[in-house]
Symmetry: D3
Subunit: 176 residues, 6 copies
């Protein structure tokens, strides 16, 4: 089990295919909340779906176009975070994340994003990190704001999911 | 020669490989101005480069992930415009364009973009069209503004080209 | 809509996927006649089939191995013509065509083929254009003959379709 | 060494990559004559070229789109013959062949083509076999004529090689 | 039919797709015995399976990564042998074989393997030939022993098939 | 930096492309010794070679056909170990490893292989692990022997590298 320690209670773990059941269980337990904001939730219903996601994610990570880790809290997997839309040309990427409802409110995600910023700026050669959240997803926006991301703008009807066009809030932080 | 008429003087034409020399000549004549804002200009130096671009563009257009046309003014090719980052899922795309300096100031590009909006909204099933321009590229930003695009925000250090990070202005227009 | 004008009443149009329903309707209305001579008719039964054909045709056209256009008469799609078996090495290709029965007898196809000859010889660098028709398909052979194509020979049992071997008439015209 | 016996003196042999040097030597010794009629001769100058041809030929033969054999006379390789343009749909193919000048005039090729007709009609499910030869390649046309092929026509400027358009004689023989 | 003669009664034949029914029939008649030792037997139930195997085998043979032949005895196909795991880098390969029960005990396989050794060492540039057989497959091990292969070792639980881990006997012979 | 702890001084680390220079330096410092036994050493001369190896290794690891880790000793990379020839069908794989000469003799590799056995048997679903070493590579064979692997046999002339055929010692350990 390959681990990147974040702090005394929290760590990142390279997702493995045998983590599929655990990750799926968290999705199941939080399907209502996650499904409101995360378009992929409606396509994630079996361990096979989750395994396929993990395998594909690892392959894209090996190719340098993606990065992801399971979030562990006191040795249990409780969430996931990733860097997508990685552009080596423009030194830019976007953070995504989700956390089991039962572990929210403990500062886990704020610590995790802080660590991921360090990884992105220092190890992965990024210059600009973005967070994009549904305008109405207050929890996700709060993570960006607590980490000092700048609100670049509200992008009207930028995304379409769950049958509706959605306004998206775009945040960014620069390496400087 | 396949033509889409815009108005009495202006038309769109499907680019063909034999248009490569003409398009390259315009790039050559405007290399200083274009090179300031368009990252691809530094890689476009021969008719072969231009032919490869046209062939690739036609293939992506056939696949539905791209759309482009040469702009004709009084039967001469004078520029090019395109839709890139076409997302069928989110019904969203981005407009790109350039026009020979000698033809600027005649309203050609404003008319061309107006027509392209109609095509994108009515024929290509788009809901949100974006224009992204370097913050300092006033000519390009004026086209967006004349066409009533909304400034969503200034994205700091969003792009890296010609050796510098660039702030980009993001505009959008909705179908409604 | 990208148009190549043939004469006052007739034009060529780049086929688009949203033309599938219109093209399929013509096939439906002429299934008996077309099915007698055109082997693909028995596989063209849904808008999906027709869309797949259009998408594939556009991709091969972009790759330079195929060329096709819908035939418009007084602003309605009434048929299709194409260049297939395009050989850049030997500067040779073959014309295919079909026209709605309701529009036959007006000289539309003769005008369309005349225009396509010009395109093939002058724009596409062809030297020899062929028309191959079932020996018994008198309508198709008449188009070749009206356009002054030379009968190279009758190729016995050259094709197999609808459960029978067919003798084919091979016509050709040179650029000179 | 896998052999198909034709008669007491002649056999077919599956080409192997280690036959490249022998085949190339025959091409070298007959370059002037072969080069007059066979377009590929000008690209066949090294054992690597010949090996690549053999490897590619074997792969296409395994895929059912090609068939070829070296011609052996008294245990020496003296030529090659093939079936190309194999159409399973139309049960049709074309014969190609060449023979070292030193072995011409002994009836080897006539016997070889007779045997290949049997293979094509009886084992490979063909119905129509074609031979296409340059109108002026009298030796090749004589093989077709001695084997009773029917001259379907002279196809004017059908091929372009060695800098000239060439008229081609098309012969065919049917299974029945 | 391409043939490599082994001795007065025995020959190798390049497998062709039309041999599928014959090969399948032998498998059917020997399913109990073969199925005990050959893992692929449980997946070989139709002429389509057998044809797919032959086509794939011919393609890999053309690519130089495989070699196989049907074994003919008095003009009938009675078995098959192959070289797999061909390493051009290490000049090493492994022999596989099976023979209809009704033809066993006549020395056919011993003669066939002797001939295949010659082909592998002299034509295919191999230096080490291996035979791997289930520890309990006495018939197969006897072929290796009669041909003077050296027992390198018993590889415990090397293979898993028919629901069990199997110990495998590894034999080898060097070109010297 | 993703870490799997082995013991107080030793850990495994997922190789990253930015580790290329460090790994290459160890190869450079041990080129004579490594080059004697490891065929790939002669092709590993630049950071680009090493980066390509790491990228390819990560992609194969994501696909489940390979597994590798850098060995860290007191926070420095000092070697590498891997599982190759992973067969999910037979639950079998082979261990490979190398260690900087300056760190040999401290029990690092024995501890690393012990840990890797646990990973292979418990996490990766393997049943048989092999170690294959040149018969004369006493250091490598000692690792296998210290870890209680069984010597299955000496495979004569099994490998060819550095211009010679090599006898290889094959060891194995079963999960039981």
């Amino acid at each position: 089990m390959f681990i990147h320690k974040v702090n005394e209670t929290t760590a990142f773990k390279i997702p493995e295919e045998r983590d599929a059941a655990t990750l799926l269980e968290i999705v199941e337990n939080n399907r209502t909340e996650f499904g409101q904001w995360l378009p992929w939730v409606k396509d994630m219903y079996s361990a096979d779906d989750e395994q396929a996601f993990i395998k594909n994610g690892r392959q894209r990570m090996a190719a340098g176009t993606f990065w992801f880790a399971a979030i562990m809290y006191r040795d249990n997997i409780v969430g996931l975070l990733d860097l997508h839309q990685i552009s080596q040309e423009h030194h830019r990427c976007q953070i995504g994340y989700w956390l089991a409802g039962s572990c929210q409110g403990k500062g886990i995600m704020t610590a995790a994003v802080r660590e991921l910023e360090t990884i992105a700026f220092n190890e992965l050669n990024m210059n600009r990190i973005e967070i994009m959240a549904d305008k109405n997803n207050q929890k996700s926006r709060s993570v960006a704001e607590r980490r000092g991301f700048h609100l670049d703008g509200i992008l009207k009807q930028y995304a379409f999911y769950n049958g509706q066009f959605r306004d998206m809030a775009l945040y960014s932080k620069l390496k400087q």
